[in-house]
C-alpha cells in the first residue's frame, strides 16, 4: 500500500509543472462546458480532444483527455439542475431532484450537492482504481483466448442489455460494431474483407473518426433538426457545498461511489446506468423515499456520486484488459494506443507507473471540477443561453478537421460523415450507440481469440465452456440473454420467489 502511495505521489509531482497544470485547467474547463451544453456529450468531447492533442507528449495528451472526461460528466449536472435538460445522458437522473430543488429556489444548494457528490464519487473511484487495477491486472494474466472471447461477447451483450431501453436493439448495435471491426485486412492472411476495392478501407475503420461521427455529427443533426426551445434558467443561491449534506448522507455517498465504480468496471455500460442504479439503490435504502423526485438531496447526491465514480471505474478495465467500461473510455483506450501506451494484462508488469499516472490524472481532474464547480456558475449561465445555431456549425467544423487530423487523410472525414448519418438514423430508431462503440473496439479481440482458441484446440469448442472463467462468463452471457425472454424471466422469478419463501419458512421453523 505504501508503495502505491509513493508511486501516486511521484506521479502527482510529475504533473506539477506550469504546462501540465495549465493543460489540466483548460481541459477541465472545456469538459465542463461540453458537459453542461445539452447536445454535446462526454464521448464527443473526448474524441475531439483526442484529435487536437495528437502531437502532444502522451502524458499531457492523456491528462487533457481525462480532465475533459471528468469535467464533462460533472458539467452535465449544471444544465440538469438549471434547465431540467441533462447536459449528458449521465445527468438524466440528476434532473429529477436537481431541477425540483431549483424550482424550490435551491438551485445553488443543488449545484453544491452535485459538486460535493461528483468530487467524492471521483475520489472513491480513484481509490478503487488504485487498489483494483493491480489485482485485476493479476487476474487478467490468467486470461487466455477462450476467456478473452467470452469477455468480448459478454461486453457486447451486457452493454446492449443495460444501455438504452430495448436489449434486442442494443445487441444488434453491438453485433454491428463487431462486424464493422472486421472490415479491412484480416489478421492471419492479410485478406481484404468488405473493402470493395477501396484502398483506404484495407487498414480498417479508425475508431476515433467513427466516434466523432456517431457522437459529434449525429448530435449536431439531432440538435438542429428541431426548432430551438426557449431557455429558462432558475435563480440560484450560493453554490458552496454544505458540509452537513456530506456528513448526513455519508452512507449514500459511499454506497453510490461503490455502485458507480462497479458499473464502470462492467464493459460498455457507462455513467448513465451508474447514475440510475445509484439513484435506485439510494431510494430503496432511504428513510425519506417520498422525497425522491420532489427535490431529494439524497437522490441528487446519489446520482452525482454514482456517475462520477463510474469514470475511474470505467478506466480499470481499459488498463487491465484493454476493454472500455464506457463510450468515453473507448475513446480514451484508442487515444492510449495512438500515443503508444499498450494497456492490457501486462500493464502492471511493463508499465506499473502508468497506472499511478492515470490515478494522478483523475485526482487532478477532480480538483479541476471542484475549482470550476465553485467559481464558474455565472459564466456558465451565459454560455447556456448561447443559441445552439451558433455553436453547432463550429462543432461540425471541429468534427471534420479532427477526423482529418488523426492520419491526415480525407477518407477519415468520409468515415466520420458515414457514421454520423448512420448513427443519427440508428438513434432515431432507438438503437443505443454505446454497444456499437464497444463492438467496434472488441471486434478484433473477439475474432483473434476465437480463431486462436480454435487453432489451439484444432476446432474443439470444449475449452470455451469448461475452463472455469470461460464457464462463468458463458453462464453470465446465457443468463443475460435468456432473462430477456418473458417466459424464462417469469419462470426464473417464480422459482426465485419459491426459494426465498422456502428459506423464510425454514428460518421461521427454526
Amino acid at each position: 500500500m505504501l508503495d502505491g502511495l509513493i508511486a501516486f505521489g511521484n506521479s502527482l509531482a510529475g504533473f506539477m509543472n506550469p504546462a501540465s497544470v495549465g493543460y489540466a485547467l483548460l481541459a477541465s474547463f472545456v469538459g465542463f462546458i461540453i458537459g453542461a451544453l445539452p447536445g454535446l456529450t462526454a464521448t464527443m468531447g473526448v474524441a475531439l480532444m483526442t484529435t487536437l492533442t495528437i502531437k502532444l507528449p502522451s502524458s499531457d495528451a492523456l491528462l487533457i483527455l481525462i480532465c475533459t472526461y471528468v469535467g464533462a460528466i460533472y458539467g452535465g449536472s449544471r444544465s440538469a439542475i438549471l434547465l431540467n435538460i441533462p447536459g449528458t445522458p449521465a445527468s438524466a437522473a440528476s434532473c429529477l431532484d436537481g431541477h425540483a430543488l431549483a424550482r424550490q429556489g435551491l438551485a445553488g444548494r443543488a449545484m453544491g450537492i452535485a459538486t460535493s457528490g461528483s468530487v467524492l464519487g471521483t475520489w472513491i473511484g480513484i481509490i478503487a482504481l488504485a487498489f483494483f487495477t493491480p489485482v485485476l491486472g493479476e487476474m487478467a494474466l490468467k486470461f487466455g483466448a477462450y476467456e478473452f472471447f467470452w469477455l468480448a461477447v459478454f461486453g457486447v451483450v451486457i452493454s446492449g442489455n443495460l444501455t438504452g431501453n430495448d436489449p434486442l436493439k442494443g445487441w444488434m448495435s453491438g453485433f454491428l460494431g463487431l462486424f464493422i471491426a472486421g472490415i479491412g485486412q484480416e489478421a492471419i492472411f492479410a485478406y481484404d474483407r468488405f473493402t470493395f476495392g477501396i484502398h483506404d478501407l484495407s487498414g480498417g475503420i479508425s475508431l476515433v473518426p467513427a466516434l466523432v461521427g456517431a457522437f459529434g455529427l449525429a448530435e449536431v443533426i439531432t440538435v438542429m433538426k428541431d426548432p430551438p426551445r426557449p431557455v429558462q434558467i432558475n435563480a440560484f443561491d450560493t453554490v458552496i457545498p454544505k458540509l452537513i449534506d456530506v456528513i448526513k448522507y455519508w452512507r449514500t455517498i459511499i454506497r453510490s461511489g461503490l455502485i458507480g465504480t462497479g458499473i464502470g468496471i462492467i464493459p460498455g455500460v457507462g455513467e448513465d446506468v451508474a447514475a440510475w442504479s445509484s439513484y435506485a439503490a439510494a431510494r430503496r435504502a432511504s428513510k425519506e423515499k417520498e422525497k425522491f423526485g420532489k427535490g431529494s438531496i439524497e437522490g441528487l447526491m446519489a446520482a452525482e456520486t454514482g456517475d462520477n465514480a463510474c469514470v475511474p471505474g470505467a478506466v480499470i478495465p481499459v488498463l487491465t484488459l484493454a476493454v472500455p467500461g464506457s463510450a468515453p473510455a473507448a475513446v480514451l483506450l484508442a487515444a492510449m494506443l495512438i500515443h503508444g501506451v499498450n494497456p492490457g494484462p501486462l500493464i502492471m508488469i511493463e508499465a506499473p507507473h502508468f497506472v499511478y499516472d492515470v490515478v494522478a490524472m483523475m485526482f487532478i481532474a477532480s480538483v479541476g471540477i471542484l475549482i470550476y464547480g465553485l467559481t464558474l456558475t455565472g459564466l456558465l449561465i451565459k454560455i447556456l443561453q448561447f443559441p445552439h445555431v451558433l455553436i453547432m456549425p463550429i462543432i461540425f467544423v471541429l468534427c471534420a478537421v479532427g477526423s482529418y487530423a488523426i492520419a491526415s487523410r480525407l477518407f477519415d472525414v468520409y468515415v466520420m460523415l458515414a457514421f454520423g448519418v448512420i448513427g443519427f438514423g440508428l438513434r432515431q430508431m432507438n438503437f443505443p450507440m454505446a454497444p456499437l462503440v464497444l463492438g467496434i473496439v472488441l471486434g478484433d479481440l473477439l475474432e483473434k481469440s476465437l480463431r486462436r482458441g480454435l487453432i489451439l484446440t484444432d476446432g474443439d469448442l470444449t475449452p470455451f465452456f469448461t475452463r472455469p472463467i470461460s464457464f462463468v462468463m458463458f453462464v453470465l452471457v446465457a443468463a443475460t440473454v435468456l432473462m430477456n425472454i418473458p417466459a424464462v424471466h417469469r419462470a426464473a422469478s417464480l422459482a426465485w420467489a419459491n426459494v426465498v419463501g422456502a428459506l423464510g419458512r425454514k428460518q421461521g421453523g427454526v
Binding site: T51, G164, W276, M392, P393, I394, V413, Q428, N430, G459
Partner: protein, 168 residues
Amino acid sequence: MDENKPSPIADFVTGAVWLALAVAIIIGAWKMDRLEHLQTTIYTMPGSMAALLGGVIGLMAIILMLRSILAGALAGVLWQKPRWMDHWRLIAVLVLCLGYAIGLVGHGLPFWLGSAIFVAVFVFIFQFADRRRDGTLIRGAAFAIVLGLISSFAIHYAFQDVFLVRLP
C-alpha cells in the same frame, strides 16, 4: 435513457433493412476467397467470422420484425406521402454538413475560407426566419460572416499553430 419508442411499422421496416444487411454480409462472406491453397480450415477462412456475425444479426432482425408484427405493424398500414417541408431543418443540416465535408474540405479551397463559408451559411439559413421577421436580414448576414471568419481563424490557429496538427 431514450424514451421515444418508434412505432411498430418503423420497427418492421428497420428490421427488414437489418435483415437485408445481414443477408448481404452472409453473401459477401460466402463469396470471399477461402484460401484453400493455404490449407485454411473452417475457422481460419477470412469470411467465417463475418458469416457468423451476419447470421446472428439476421436472426435478431427476424426477431425484431416478428415482434413488430405482433405489436400490430401490419395492421391497417396507410402510406402517407412524406411532407418534406416539415423536415426542412433536417434536410438543410444534412445538405450543409455533407456539402462542406465532401465539397469544401481538402479540394483546393483554403481550410479557413471553406470553414468560414460553411459557418456563415449555416448560421444565416437557420436564423433566416427570425431575422426576416425582425427585419434584420442584412445585419444577420453580416453577423454570420463575422462569426464564420472568427471561428474558422480560431480553429485554424488552435490546430495548426498551437497543437501543430495538419489541416486539410
